[in-house]
Structures are given as structure tokens and as C-alpha cells.
């Protein structure tokens, strides 16, 4: 079989592209496992419901090094209706854990703002755990132009 130079080139590009795609999916799966594990640890296996929690983050973050995020949980912060903790997860980071906020009745309102690092465009997840055991979740995609975790 005669393989021309042009064919060789096309073949090798195809092979390289395939290899890169394979690596990408591999890495993404590992991260997804980490995210699922973190969520399971936080919720204790309970399925999170939608609502009550609001995650506020920019749609497009030019600089992934400082992305402002605000999380607010609807809660009276008295009696049983207390948001005890809120976990923020960056699903596309090398280590998905970001921060866990702990509120008390002294907080008055379960709301906090911080600045986080995002390695690439990804979903940011916020989970809230209430005193009565309920778990709520919100998710937001943030597009990142410059990654924030360094090379």
C-alpha cells in the first residue's frame, strides 16, 4: 500500500485529535466524580431540591482569578427555619471544593459574598443545608475568558 505524504499528515492529525479528545473526557469524568462525592458528603445522600437558594455570579468572568459570587438562602434564621451551611462547588476546577459557609441564628440573614477562582468555563454549584434536614441546590454557568488556577 502506498501512503502519500498528504495521507500520512491527515492520519496523524486525526490520531492526535482523537488522543486529545480522549484525554479531555477522561479528566472531565474524574472531576464529575469528585463533584458527586463532595455533594454526597455534604447532603448525606439526600437529593437536593431546587429553590430557596439563589446563587449570583457573573455570566461572563473576564478574569478567572477573582469571580465575585453571592449566595442567599431564603430563611427566617429562627426556630427550625435556619440555613446552617452553604457549600460552593466549582465543578470544572482541578479541586472542585471552594468554600463552605456556616451561618447561625446570629447571622440574621443567610447571605454571603466572596471572590473565587475558576479554572475555565464551568458550572458553579451552591448547596444549602437547613436545620430541618432539607437540602437545596442552585447552579449557574460562568464563562471564563482567562483561567484562574495557573499552569
Amino acid at each position: 500500500m502506498n501512503i502519500t505524504r498528504r495521507q500520512t499528515l491527515a492520519l496523524s492529525i486525526g490520531a492526535a485529535a482523537f488522543a486529545v479528545a480522549g484525554l479531555r473526557t477522561g479528566a472531565a469524568n474524574a472531576a464529575q466524580e469528585d463533584v458527586d462525592k463532595l455533594i454526597a458528603e455534604f447532603t448525606g445522600g439526600k437529593a437536593p431540591e431546587a429553590g430557596k437558594i439563589a446563587l449570583n455570579a457573573p455570566e461572563i468572568a473576564e478574569n478567572g482569578n477573582t469571580v465575585p459570587v453571592t449566595v442567599t438562602v431564603e430563611s427566617a434564621m429562627a426556630g427550625d427555619d435556619v440555613a446552617e451551611s452553604v457549600m460552593i462547588i466549582a465543578s470544572g476546577n482541578p479541586t472542585p471544593a471552594v468554600a463552605t459557609f456556616h451561618f447561625t441564628e446570629m447571622s440574621g440573614e443567610a447571605s454571603a459574598t466572596s471572590r473565587i477562582r475558576l479554572a475555565k468555563t464551568q458550572d458553579v454549584v451552591a448547596l444549602a443545608k437547613m436545620k430541618n434536614g432539607a437540602v437545596y441546590m442552585d447552579k449557574k454557568q460562568v464563562k471564563v475568558t482567562i483561567g484562574g488556577c495557573g499552569g
Binding site: 434564621m77 468554600a99 459557609f101 447561625t104 446570629m106 447571622s107 440574621g108 440573614e109 447571605s111 454571603a112
Partner: protein, 108 residues
């Protein structure tokens, strides 16, 4: 690191039962442990891993921090004040150092 200077903003006065906003910032590199130096060696992780705030000895807000929090970590949160007193803030470094600050508030 000696240059980790905390800065905290708390209103000086408040009405009883008012929910106030507290803003905190501390200068810190928050080295993630992911970066490499010129020679390809990993720069060891050095971050603030915990932040706490208490009012008159009772916990108000705390936070467990992973390397994904930006350099010079900033936290803004709320507190309900019923009486005059002192807010105490503490940041815990990976190396065990604790940076602390406190602020007074007067309830009218």
C-alpha cells in the same frame, strides 16, 4: 506572613435587632498548590483555611476555605445585633498562624 493585614468594615452604630452587613478582607497570597515555579517544582500550598466571626463570644459566621478562594480573600456577610458589643474575627493560616481583628458596635 507578617504582611497579612486584615481589614474589617462594621458599622459603628446600629438599632437593636438590626441586620448589619460586615465586610472583611485580608491580604494573603492563597497559594493554591497547583502552580509550578520556573524550574517546574510545585509551589507548596499556603492558604487561609478557616475564617470565623463571633459576637460577644457567640459564633455568627464561619467559613471553611479551599484553594479555590481568590488571593486576598474577601467575605461579606450579615449579622443581627441585639446589644452593644465586640465582633471578633479570626483567619487561620495553613501554617497555624492566626490573624485576628476586632470591632466594637454600639446599639442605640
Amino acid at each position: 506572613m507578617a504582611d497579612s493585614k486584615p481589614r474589617v468594615k462594621v458599622p459603628e452604630t446600629a438599632a437593636a435587632g438590626e441586620v448589619i452587613v460586615i465586610k472583611t478582607l485580608i491580604s494573603h497570597v492563597m497559594e493554591s498548590g497547583q502552580r509550578k515555579d520556573k524550574d517546574g517544582n510545585i509551589i507548596p500550598r499556603k492558604i487561609i483555611n478557616k475564617f470565623t466571626c463571633e459576637f460577644n463570644g457567640k459564633p455568627v459566621f464561619s467559613c471553611d476555605i479551599a484553594p479555590a478562594v481568590s488571593a486576598n480573600p474577601y467575605f461579606e456577610f450579615k449579622a443581627k445585633v441585639a446589644e452593644s458589643g465586640t465582633f471578633k474575627f479570626a483567619w487561620v493560616d495553613d501554617d497555624g498562624t492566626i490573624y485576628a481583628d476586632e470591632k466594637q458596635i454600639t446599639v442605640k
